[in-house]
Symmetry: C2
Subunit: 261 residues, 2 copies
Amino acid sequence: MLQIESRASERVKALVRLRDSALERREKGAFFAEGLRLCTDIAGVQPALEAYCTRAALAAHPQLAALADETALISDSVAEKLAGTKNTQGVFCVFRLPQPLRTVRPGGRYVALEHVQDPANVGALLRSAAAFGFEGALLCGGCADPFSQKALRASMGAAVKLGIARYEDAPQMAGALRAAGVPLVAAALRDSVPLADARADDARGVAVLVGNEGNGLTDEAVRAADVAVRIPMAPGVESLNAAVAGGVLLWHFRGGACPQA
Amino acid sequence: MLQIESRASERVKALVRLRDSALERREKGAFFAEGLRLCTDIAGVQPALEAYCTRAALAAHPQLAALADETALISDSVAEKLAGTKNTQGVFCVFRLPQPLRTVRPGGRYVALEHVQDPANVGALLRSAAAFGFEGALLCGGCADPFSQKALRASMGAAVKLGIARYEDAPQMAGALRAAGVPLVAAALRDSVPLADARADDARGVAVLVGNEGNGLTDEAVRAADVAVRIPMAPGVESLNAAVAGGVLLWHFRGGACPQA
């Protein structure tokens, strides 16, 4: 069994780059995940390329040895370095980045994000989309990377369950949806219909588009959408938490794909 | 105009205690808030007892002089100390703690929390409750203080718009609701009905009970409830973000109190 004792080793440096850099993840076609639950969850979807555990973690959870073809033992000092904190479970994996979603499917259900910048919000939105039976996430503008550590933690691994597609901007995304006949529903406070009055046609599918935490959707995104909806709020309240607002919208548009039992 | 230059001054120390300690807030009957938007929002509901601004903040926003009877000028160094960070808008207020909610009202709508420990979740749940026209928050067990800095930021001031009542435990809370004839709806994954099948009776009101982020509600809380509901999830997904799950429940039970336009 490979053992890594020194935090100065080349392998540890490479893992930290993968952890911290979206560019590095793209170039290597892989991402880094931390934590017993998260690594185990993702490994249930696809096997890990590499696994790293402390002696204590492996003793407590012998099944960790099966996460990847080879599990390396790491020192506590390396674990702290990889976790960036002293409180770590000492479990880390590298996984292959999932294949991007190639095409939007007629009848499919998607969460669509424009300029959602907080990785915790991106993660929570993906988690809600997976929970409510959506099949993909469409990202455009400057969204946080779903494979950053914060986003992965918040998504609880949903990033590997959903297909993810990236677009330059909202009009390009809207074009792909239009080609598949999938209506694009934008969340917008003005010039919109109350959510309770908006219905999706199960046969056509739906894409639910959520915008930036502070500024909402761009005008071009709202124009590109087929319909705009709002979550009505009591007087004196101006907005909801972005992950909560998105969660309510995804719940409303979950359709028949989500089991009702 | 009072000026505070030194971060070692007794006034600054007292403000930091108010910022950091729930006990201090209870003893003084006051809470501390930071930020232009948050302070202005809360001051729209109740005037500030004290206001503190940097010279730059006051120059940019002259209306800050009207937040309280007297606004004190603080040095940048004091502002950094109060904010606990270098990135601060330089705007701080002390407000009176709102009167606790004395009684549960027949027909009222409440969000109820048991052991919700993350202040950001407590804040987001209060924000959603205020947005969806609920009138109060009932806390029991070891919930995070709604007047901590993280909770206040997440609630965007909803903590002063909702009446807040505290109970020892869920059975005591359930007793107060029962006395008012308000049904208690518990969020629970097992032995529960799918959310879409659960309806509240607008005339009787409702209390929506959300539990701990990791462990959900205690058994005694579920037993004390009149009905248990669950948000159905797709296979392979075990849970939602606590603030999102609560938001979906509050949206579902918003009743007629929330404007539909």
